[in-house]
Structure formats: C-alpha cells, structure tokens
C-alpha cells in the first residue's frame, strides 16, 4: 500500500503557448486529475513548433516518467508536428489509420462540409500506437509505450481533450497501474480571509497523512485536504468536520465527502429552488456581478444595476437622506431591500449601497465601505464591510458578500 506513486508529466505543444498567446489551462486540469487518481506529477513542459525540440523532449520524458499526457500539435496544418516528432523520437513510421480516416470524413459530413485534403494528415498515426477516438472534433489522439513511459497524445482544444481523457485515457491508466487514489476534501468558505482561516485552524491537529493547502480569491476561500490512500473514511470525515467547525459560519459547504455542496450560488440555488422562492437584487458597486454569477437561473427574478446614489432611492421611491454615516447606510440598505422585495413581488431581496467614492474605488490601496441589506419573509438584516484592492476585486468581493448574507440566512447561521 505504501509504495511510492508512479510519476507523471504533462507536455504541451504549440508556439501559441511558448509565445504567450495562449495560457496553458490544459496542464493544470490534467494535473489535478492525475494527482487525484494517485499519480505524482513531477513536471510540466511546453515547447513550440520545432521538430527538434519535440523529439528531444519526448526522449527525455521517456527516460524519467512512468506516464505522460501530451496535448496539442494534432491539427491538420504544417505547424502540427506531434505525430511526426513521435515517429522520429521513437522510430515508429507514420501509417494511415483507415478507421481514423473514416471518422474524420464523417465529422465533416456531419457538420455539412467537405473534408479538405490537409485533414488526411490527421489519420497518420505512429506504427503500433493505439488510436484514441475523438467524437468531439477532427483530430484523433493515440497512445503508445516507449522506454519506461506510457504516452497519451490528445488534441489541445480543452473540450475535446477533457472528454478524451475521461473516456479513454483515465480508464487505461487505471487498468495499467495499481493506483492508490488520494482523496481530496475541499472546505469552502466565503467572507473570511486567509490569515483569519489560518488563525482559526491553529487549534486543529493535522496528521502527517493529510496535506493541507489553501486557495484564496474574491469569490471564495478553500481549504484543501488531500488524504493519503490509506486513511480510513471515518477519519477523513472527522477531520473535515473539525476543520469546518473551527472556521465556523464562513463555511458554506464541503466537497469530496458524500455529496459535493458546490459553490456559493449552487448552495443558494438548491435552497431557493426547493422552497419555490425567488430573489431580486439592487446592485450598485457590484455593477451586475451578482446577476451575472446567478446566470439567469429560474429562482433569480431580477436585478437592477444602478450607478448613482440618488437614482437608487428615486428608483424605489424611498426618500434619500442627504447625509449618511455607517449606521444609517446599513439601515438604508435594509429599507431599500424591503422596498425592492415588495416592488418585485419576490420572497427575498438584496440591496447594496456603498460610499459612492469613485476615487477610492479606483485606488487599490484605498478603503471603501459597503452596506448590504437583505429582506426575507421573516424580516430584514444587514451586513457591512470594508474593502480594498483593485476596483474589479472590490466589485467581486461586494457581490460575494451580498450572496453570502443570503446564504447565511438560508443556512440559519447569521
């Protein structure tokens, strides 16, 4: 059980990657999959469209990794050199795969186009490789073993690559290696910073068999617990609960145990859908980010995005106090939320105000104040906070704070 995990590498091909035209998101996606399956990923490498570099890299990897997933370079143009590089590196002449040819032609027929002659090239696969069918595009992939390493070659288009990995490569890897999959548990929080999380976790003892990491951002903060294969399920469950308990009300869900909770919006969606309730929102600072994150869901009735303070009050026919301080602004947000809920006939309404200071918003070191009011079937509540960072960060965090106020009400942890 405690053998060391097989080593995997990721190899991305393409001038658009090494020249920085495209960010390589495939490498991160594949690595996350492989780590969870029980591989240790040791290296990512990207090289451009030069045959010599590709050949050299393939040989290097064949000598040091147990498995390598390669993406890109399977297209029809002269820049797409992967199959040719494999042929040269491992001495496997390219042979036309007739089934691949039929599939490529069928793809064109299906999309109502004639197959250009250049696409013939995509049916050329290295001798004694296994074809990996691509139902989602034209380029088939292939796999082969050389030296100690089993290679899978997939197209660079993320959608095609992900499907082909999940349907063909992953089962093949599972058959080939006796893998001990790690278990990843993610504790998901909103409305708390990384240093506060670390402070609250000070009292939790983490055994050696779990690896702790944090992912922080304006949308949520995650505590990731990656468990060694031999940790009993009961211990995993207990530690996850201890972590969630230590952090408290900022935790909105846990992924990786029985059922994934999903993100903040999913947690809210589940509850509102179940209760046949709907939400309306009045956005100011967040400038449409709340509506946008809810993505036109059925439980999301409407949002008004209004830029100027005076217009907000005018819009809801609520009298606008000339002057406002911290305390009155929080109250105002609640009054606006109630007016909105009534106006829209929705069960819940969120209304957000801020100190409407454009200069402070644009200055990443300056602080702005944000006031959120929530109207519910049982009354109103408020939340206020101070935010810094770029304008875009402040807007995103403001949206998170508003959604999280609703989530806390729904989960009964206000």
């Amino acid at each position: 059980m405690n053998q060391s995990p097989p080593l995997a590498e990721i190899f991305s091909q393409g001038d658009e990657i090494v020249s920085g035209q495209t960010t390589d998101t495939n490498a991160a996606w594949l690595s996350e999959q492989l780590v969870r399956m029980g591989f240790q990923v040791t290296r990512h490498t990207a090289v451009g469209d030069r045959l010599e570099s590709l050949v050299e890299l393939l040989r290097e990897i064949a000598s040091r990794a147990d498995s390598c997933i390669c993406t890109g370079g399977l297209g029809p143009t002269s820049d797409d050199l992967t199959a040719e590089a494999v042929a040269a590196a491992f001495d496997r002449p390219l042979i036309t795969d007739l089934d691949a040819l039929v599939q490529i032609e069928a793809h064109f027929t299906r999309t109502g186009r004639e197959m250009p002659l250049v696409n013939l090239k995509q049916a050329l696969l290295p001798d004694k490789s296994a074809r990996i069918d691509n139902q989602w595009g034209t380029a088939p992939g292939f796999s082969l073993r050389h030296g100690r390493c089993w290679f899978a070659f997939l197209p660079g288009v993320p959608f095609e690559m992900e499907h082909m990995f999940l349907e063909t490569v992953r089962p093949e890897l599972t058959r080939t290696w006796r893998l001990d999959p790690m278990q990843l548990v993610t504790v998901r929080c909103a409305g708390i910073g990384e240093s506060a999380i670390q402070e609250r976790l000070g009292c939790v003892a983490f055994p050696d068999k779990v690896r702790l990491s944090f992912r922080t951002g304006p949308i949520e903060n995650q505590i990731k617990l990656l468990f060694q294969p031999d940790v009993p399920q009961a211990d995993i469950q207990a530690l996850a609960e201890r972590v969630a308990g230590a952090i408290g009300s900022p935790v909105f869900g846990i992924d990786g145990l029985e059922q994934d909770s999903g993100d903040l919006v999913t947690v809210i969606a589940r509850q509102l859908t179940q209760n046949h309730q709907r939400l309306s929102v009045l956005e100011t600072l967040s400038a449409g980010a709340i509506a946008s994150r809810c993505g036109g869901a059925r439980w999301f009735k409407e949002s008004r995005v209004i830029r100027d303070r005076a217009e907000v009050f005018k819009h809801l026919a609520v009298s606008c106090p000339a002057d406002s301080n911290e305390e009155s602004s929080g109250k105002e947000a609640s009054v606006l939320a109630s007016a909105l809920a009534e106006h829209c006939g929705s069960d819940f309404a969120l209304a957000q105000l801020w100190n409407f200071d454009d200069r402070a918003l644009a200055d990443r070191n300056a602080v702005i104040s944000v006031y959120t009011g929530l109207a519910t079937p049982t009354g109103t509540c408020e939340h206020s906070c101070k935010l810094t960072g770029t304008a875009s960060r402040k807007q995103t965090v403001a949206a998170t704070q508003a959604l999280d106020l609703l989530r806390r009400y729904l989960q009964g942890c206000l």
Copy 2:
C-alpha cells in the same frame, strides 16, 4: 540585423502548479513580453517543491538558454526552495542581504504587523547575485549569470512579478542584449467568426516578414500581426489597414500602431464620455453580463436584468404580444429600448430579447435566437442573431452583440 534572436526560457516553481491547484498564468504573460522584446521563447517548465528537481532543471537551462525568467519559491516557508536550489546548482552560498532585510522589515511596519522570524529567510540571497527590489510584497528577487544563461528570479504573485519584471528585469535585458524588437499589431473585431475572418483575408497577401495568428473568443476576435524588426513602419501601417479594410465593419479598433484602441467597452466609453452621453440597458439572456463588462463606469446609467418575458414588458409598461416570431421580436426589442431610454432619461438604451427557451439555452448543440434593439438620439435600430454553445458562452456572446450594436452606431458603420 538578421542575427537569430537570443533564446529565453520560463521556469515556474511550485507544487501548487504541478499538482494543478493553480494555473500558471505567469508563463504566458512573461512569454508575451519576451517575444515582443525580441527573444525567442523556446520552453516553459514547471517543477514542484523538490530540491533535486530544481537543481537539475537550473543546470539544464543554464546550458541551453541565453536568458531565463523564474517565478515562485521565494516565500518564507520551508516549501520555498528557489534560493537554496540556486545555491546548490551553481555553487553560490546564501548570504544575508542587509538591504533586503531592512526592506522586508519596512514592509511589515508599513502594513502594521510585526515581522515573523521565518521571513528572515527571504533576505538570504545567493553569493554575487544582484538583488531585485520588491516594493509590492515581502520577497525580493535576484539575478545572476551562470554558464551562457542570465537568470532572473521573481516571486510567483502575478502583481509583484509583473511590476518587478517591467521595472527591473526588462531594462536589464535590454541593456544586455542588442535586441531587435518585433512589432505586434492587433486588429480587434466583434460579431464575426474565425472562418469568416479567414475567408475575408483570402484576398490579402501577407509578406514573409509578418506572422499571422488568430485569437478567438466570445468577447472578441483578434487578428495578430507580428512583424520582423526590419519591416518599415509605413509597410506595417499599410498592411494593418489592408487587413482592417478586408474585414470591414466587425473591426472596432487596432492596437499596436500609434494609439491603442482598447477593447469594445473602451471604444464605447471613449465616445460616450466625450459626448457626455449615458447608456441604460435591459438585459434578459445576458443576465448582468453587459452591466458587469461596463464595470460601473460613469457613462453607464443603469441596467435592469429581468429573467421572464412577461415581466420585461410589464416592467416598462409596454404591451406584451402573446405570440412572437423573428420579425416581431426584433421590433419589440426596439420598442422596449425606446421605452427604457425615456424611462431612464438616458441618451442610449439597449434592450435584448431572446426566445426564452431554457432547454435550448442549456443544450450546447441547440440554437437560440437573440434580438437586440438600440434606442439612440436619432431613432432606433435592431440586430438579430442565432447562437449555439454552452449557456455561459451564449450569454457572453449575447452581451458582446448588444455592445457591438452600440459601437457600430457610434462609429457610423451600421
């Protein structure tokens, strides 16, 4: 002038990268900078927090590249091994840099915290390296030459890394190499697909000294022209104009000539700000994406995001036809836009309708119809289109189409 460009590599350090917890955006950013400066970027490599892998990789790179920019591994924790790896790989003992120590302490004082002892480690730099000051965080970087290669080590936090690269590394690279910078011109379009772009460019002759590439997405499509250093400015200008002319009205701007046009929203913002005009929007399908892309700008008066068809008409007190077909829906969008402009007292108003078919929205192969109306000081106009793809892609493209209708009116190319 025609010597081959110096070779550069990018090296990223961190378990969070090789395990897929973090997508390495630094590599793409740095590559784009280096290519534009006149380097040829040959390889990106990421390795985890293992001293042995780091040492091996540093030695490999020192033997094959002229320059290498490394990110990550400069933090205070035991996982941060970069300086130690450099010391081991190139035989340069670590020495406390007193100026670095003072700066790190000052950073903590500035942010009102006491410096933890672990941060002492960040002042340890390899012997005979040059410190790269970090005014934006705690970790200083450093640079040194070994073998044929000049290395710069920068923190992995993108904001700090980018500032340090632009202020210290770039000038140093420019002093060290006689670089022939390439010139990048980007022709930016909206409302046209990649195949249509390629068809329209069929009549344009591209000389050998320009490299053509495309970047496509739901927000915009870009045609990138990367010119060799010895192409005269007049030829660059002429080719860029020929490309823009061949594509026609979908082109909203050009970057890389005299003045960058910026993105679609920037083009709109420039015009509306100059004319002291404001925009209001009625969003349905786009679910807040239009407001969100405009990010709370002064010229953006307000947006109403409404989910249900009946509510849209009720909201603006416009009578809602029970049945609607393609033609009437376009007309309705215009009527709604006019009503919104009047209601909000704004110069321009966009209103968007669609066929409100949730099932087709969710099905990535299904087609939905989108109708946009624009009210302007001189009358109304309409645009309709059909969209496929994931729900999120359809929503993003719908937002782009709406903003682009306004842009076309403002640029007089409807």
